[in-house]
Symmetry: D2
Subunit: 337 residues, 4 copies
């Protein structure tokens, strides 16, 4: 059994990771940490775990975690996560980092968008980006995997094969994304209150969301083409799910059908990407590790519509998928919805 | 007192119209009709009207309505509405038509998008489109006003002054709109059930929604420029509200600030359009007749974000606003939120 | 014009009070205070007020408020409110207190349930409880009115006439109440986050909610009978609304019809209490000052079902209604939905 | 592999059953039927099943189903279900009936509450009621199991051991239940539309819901005591979940602690009933087969609070649990959340 530690056990990606790991036949959860961890049972923090997981939430050091775990899921905020990850790796514990700390390719890009110097700049660029559909070969040997952002997953998967195959104009891409509120995290803030989010949709971080450079950077890393794209996230009155509506201009006389086939072929071997005929709804992927992608056209534009569950394929499900690659399991193990 | 009849009293735009008319100091509701109308009290159909409106729901002919009313709000489905409107006008009753029947400029466009011959083709093109912010001068004398569609209101208001003033490229416009479920009407359909819409966002009618030609047609009528634009509507898990995120390419070196000022100046005299600094949320305009518009920029694109309450500025509030123009009242009468 | 001040302008009852006062033809809002008030425009705090209310949010002393206002709506938390109210009254400003501070009849009851000594014990018991339907005669002369709690309003209105007329057993009353999340206030707390409340209903404060003694105390004050009743509040995934399902045992051979008539007769003169035939839904009273009450029977029990909008009849609407009594206006002025 | 057929594949309990059966290691789904079944792929009906289940939806006769299946889940409406079940049993196919047809003990009770003669009266009373926690011994040999109603599951589990052990007065029981909208089924009806259910809670079928006699009948069957109880269901703005708040009067000097222990002991061997310390929320059991029960007291009443997911423990999860007993599998097989 692979021993897994959950570092930063209080948030939504942590509890979602635990739910999936409990179903996984080859792992056991051997540590759960939190700065508030006082050794009391995890069901005090997450009552839904009553009778399901006997574990204490503790305030453990990276070395203590490494003693108990083969791999850690770091669910800490960016910045805090890198500090932890460095020590975990030094202590011999492999890591799937669910924060943004190791996703970007250069320390410059990181400090531009995150406003601080990266504590572990040497690993940027060489750390695999944990989208197995694009970077599978880098995962089995990895000591550290940067788990992708939720919005980037929904935008990169449809766009990557189109850029790689030179089917669309790289400088006319609009990504309009809609996310459920769990994406904003579990720290109490006015903007995330029920009576603020309910019955309301709004755009936020227009023109300055940190996932925009992540999308561009990873698409460039994969396809060799640096796209110009505009990304607008929206807070939607639902708990889970991301739907991205992506507007692209096909090159020359590339048809919507060719674009559909390109995507369909690219992901034919990938169990968690479905090229679908119906119009996707986040409901159809809720509580699953799927990314659904559909293609439509309208007056010279091709419209890609992709959906994921932001907490699963956009976070914890992807982390388990990455764990499967790290430890040589079937990619789908424990991830059947 | 202006006597108002509600034709087709069972739907959401009908009940919303009644709510606003009850607050209006210069009107009284003198008829409510429905094919199911059997003369029983309207509170049987709409329990919230208990003790608020003494009125029977009846199956009245247009002539009977005209006998009792100075103006009718036609809340019938398209097609049915035009047949009714023709007879109401013949019988001397003025009409605000909340259906789509008199919005488009030509019978050809109507039959292309609505799949049937228009029963009253002569009035297409000459019937004023009831956006007072753009067509105010045509309203006071009108016997018939075509009340605008909900999505079109949210898209036309931000775009109209920009096209008129030649600030943006007319052939690179993306309108990504998100609507609450009441926009889909009150007829029971699987897709509108709570357990289908809840916790799910989806795109629909991609590339073939009837509001796309309406947006283009009215923008052309107002500005003289026929834009190419792609419009994608989304069903959002909320009851009311539309947020449109509109991506445009400024011409030459037009700045986002110039675009903001253009919109701000265009609507300075208009009490129901607010050029706002904050990022709009549908919550901020819910149950009001406002359209909020904000301007942002991102990597060569300018992003216009507009919000309305689809049942108010997108339907019944606009209808009352049009009534005010028809009868010479202050435009805001009865419409203070 | 009556000059009204909003003390504690950031919360839900404050913004809801402002919305109603803006519609009221005989008042103007002349002050809005907050400890965070730095003199910036109120639309920075509440963007929906853009173009609707020109007012600064300031950190004013009670004396400064009294200089500008004839009456203050105190929207402060309990404890803090009483301290403020004392000074406002001393400075000659009348007060509608939306906190719980002056509702209970004795300092002992207050300290038992609120865990601290009451700062102004002399006014307890003599301050009118602002349910005009029960205590109308005490309101016109009042310098201070204790605005009722939201749950108590929904429970007291149906029960009061039944106890007064001795139709039910006073020692077998079950009040099972369901409230929207806005009732929990606007301070960010984990339990009020969207992703915690959505898709979940839960009971809370079972056996120890402070509204239980308020219900009992006021029913006793009005009817002369101190009931034994058990009250259980539930957090419901909606923003507004309270529905109380109240189980009572009729005395002797009192029928459900007699109980219905008793309620119907008691509130016949009251414009905001509707004895309804249909089963109430919170939707039917949302954004109105109504309390709907229906009566049903089931196997020896009579079931009273009452609904209010917790922010309107349960808070700010009631406050405006009380203001109307204080200043001799029609009770319904400004309160037509 | 046990071959399972889904009879009536279009509704919510059908799709939920399929989801759970897909995770079950010892079953395969070999038929899906519907009167609309035209042999097209099931993903046309339920797009979330794309790539997950290769199956056609067909309009099969009971005999055809029996040829392909060892057991059928009958997800048909009451009345229709019994007719089908009779033929399935005759053809040698075992059945878990998710309808209400075989739950009540006598044909008289059935015709009183369902308004029609039972087509298969001989099986009433002898068909096991599929709550394994109470009737485990009857399940392994059963050809037919009556799967319990959702509300009854949430009410019977907390009350059964208390009545059996004579700890509470049987004639003073109030069951106030709150259910998500999926409980109302998937047939389009006005009352189940998003824009009707959202932001609204209401009581329905007060005094005449068919689950009231089911609760009483099964409690009597299990405990030998026929309780008098009043049951009120409420439609809650959420998709899944039932919370029942149950008010009981303890006998003599029975304490809340004794009641808690009685429940705790009764269900100690039962993997899906959790006697919990925290206050239950439907969120904590969503998408699981758990029933959580907590005990509180308030002024002479003991309050039992129970939660289930109405589609899992209240329907499809229970059906899989019953299948496990029928075929000699571990009770929890395939049901780990």
């Amino acid at each position: 059994m692979v021993r897994v530690g959950i570092v930063g056990a209080s948030g939504y990606t942590a509890i979602e990771s635990i739910r999936w790991l409990l179903r996984h036949p080859r792992v056991e959860i051997t540590a759960a940490t939190s700065r508030q961890g006082d050794g009391s049972a995890i069901e005090n923090m997450h009552p839904e775990l009553t009778d399901r997981l006997q574990l204490k939430v503790e305030d453990l050091s990276p070395r203590q975690i490494a003693d108990r775990c083969d791999v850690a899921f770091s669910c800490l905020p960016h910045g805090a996560s890198a500090h932890n990850v460095m020590e975990l790796l030094d202590a011999g514990c492999r890591v799937v980092d669910l924060s943004a700390d190791y996703r970007l390719s250069t320390p410059e890009l990181y400090s531009k968008w995150y406003g601080e110097k990266h504590p572990d700049p040497g690993r940027l660029g060489s750390t695999p980006y944990g989208l197995p559909e694009l970077f599978e070969s880098q995962l089995p040997e990895a000591k550290l995997i940067a788990n992708p952002g939720c919005y980037p997953t929904s935008a990169i998967l449809p766009l990557a094969p189109l850029l790689k195959n030179d089917l669309i104009h790289a400088n006319h891409i609009v990504v309009d994304s809609k996310s459920g509120v769990s994406g904003a995290g579990r720290t109490p803030k006015l903007g995330n209150l029920y009576a603020e989010c309910n019955e309301s949709i709004s755009a936020y971080s227009v023109g300055n969301h940190r996932h925009q450079p992540e999308i561009i950077d990873i698409l460039a890393r994969y396809s060799g083409v640096t796209p110009e794209l505009v990304f607008t996230p929206h807070l939607t009155p639902m708990e889970r799910g991301i739907l991205s509506t992506i507007y692209v201009r096909p090159k020359g006389n590339v048809s919507a059908n060719q674009i559909r086939e390109c995507i369909s072929n690219a992901y034919a071997p990938c169990p968690f990407v479905r090229s679908v005929v119906h119009l996707p709804a986040t409901r159809f992927v809720a509580h699953t590790n799927y990314c659904d992608i559909a293609v439509r056209e309208n007056d010279g534009w091709v419209i890609l519509i992709s959906t994921i569950d932001n907490l699963v394929k956009g976070a914890s499900g992807a982390a388990v998928q990455n764990l499967n690659y790290m430890f040589g399991f079937e990619p789908t193990l424990g991830l059947i919805p």
